[in-house]
């Protein structure tokens, strides 16, 4: 590749958006499955939704929204060459992401403690609709959790790159793309909150 080191930031963003399309459809499939099951078992979903800890869900929503804000602010900071501030903002995103995961794990642990986990003997005694509810709950929040972990790793690398000046005022497409990913993870949670925690 001789003279073609020309950079195409628009192309990179397009690629990233197309990747996000696949993520949207991936979760879209789950949301469609959710609606299908909720349509079949409205009462059970209502009841089982009441068993979830809505407060934790709401706190987590606020955490994620804020972490989204800090990412987007970090980009502004990079655009203005405010390196220290950019690092601080990215650092807080990472911290908030971890908080999210910690809360999430407490929530899961509580459910496990009550004998509510896939294939558990207690779950088997519940009506079918509730079993499906918990199946979906664990699948969707679990998959979302995996995405949070992936996003955090990505942003961790970005932090490193900001620190080492691989990301700077005239070259921040990677940060922008990682930010896009993180926001999508946030958007998915925005939908998960009312579907599971506020369903009752």
């Amino acid at each position: 590749m001789t003279e073609h080191v020309h950079r195409d930031d628009f192309g990179s963003r397009l690629g990233m958006w197309l990747f996000l399309v696949t993520e949207m459809v991936l979760f879209g499939g789950l949301f469609i499955g959710y609606s299908y099951m909720r349509y079949r078992y409205p009462a059970e979903f209502h009841h089982a939704g009441g068993e979830l800890n809505a407060t934790l869900g709401i706190i987590n929503t606020l955490v994620l929204l804020t972490s989204s804000l800090t990412v987007v602010l970090a980009i502004v900071a990079v655009q203005r060459s405010e390196k220290k501030r950019a690092m601080a903002l990215l650092g807080s995103t990472l911290a908030l992401g971890l908080v999210f995961l910690v809360i999430k794990s407490f929530e899961w642990a509580a459910k496990f403690h009550h004998g509510l986990y896939p294939n558990s003997p207690h779950l088997a005694t519940l009506p079918p609709g509730e079993q499906v509810f918990y199946g979906l709950y664990f699948t969707m929040t679990g998959l979302h959790g995996l995405h949070v972990i992936a996003g955090l790793s990505l942003l961790g690398v970005m932090l490193w790159w900001v620190a080492t000046d691989r990301i700077r005022q005239d070259r921040y497409i990677h940060l922008e793309n990682s930010g896009l990913y993180w926001h999508l993870v946030d958007v998915i949670w925005i939908f998960l909150l009312p579907l599971f925690y506020l369903a009752a």
Binding site: L14, Y39, R40, L69, V72, P194
Partner: protein
């Protein structure tokens, strides 16, 4: 072609900190409304879900994900995706809801 000719890097003025913080505040308020509405009974909760949630997601897309500052292509991409999902959903329900 046109996209390559006038370079996309001329992407207008970058928005400042203020815009995003305002959007964040709105998002928090909307979350509050959503929680509030969900206590008003089943129908209110469902309507809240159906209106407020897409609104929140839309704000994140439009501002945080910079759609406001991009050309039409990305908007079309997203609309096509959402449209496809919506049609999948509708056709699936042509079965489920009429069995």
């Amino acid at each position: 072609m046109s996209e390559t000719l006038h370079s996309p890097e001329t992407h207008a003025e970058h928005p400042g900190y203020g815009t995003f913080i305002k959007v964040w505040v709105v998002l928090l308020i909307l979350t509050g409304c959503l929680v509030g509405v969900s206590h008003l009974g089943q129908t209110a909760a469902v309507w809240g879900l159906l209106t407020l949630t897409p609104l929140k997601a839309g704000l994140v897309f439009y501002f945080f994900m910079h759609l406001k500052y991009e050309g039409p292509l990305f908007k079309i991409v997203i609309l096509v995706t959402l449209g496809t999902l919506l049609i999948f959903f509708a056709l699936l329900f042509s079965d489920v809801a009429f069995r």
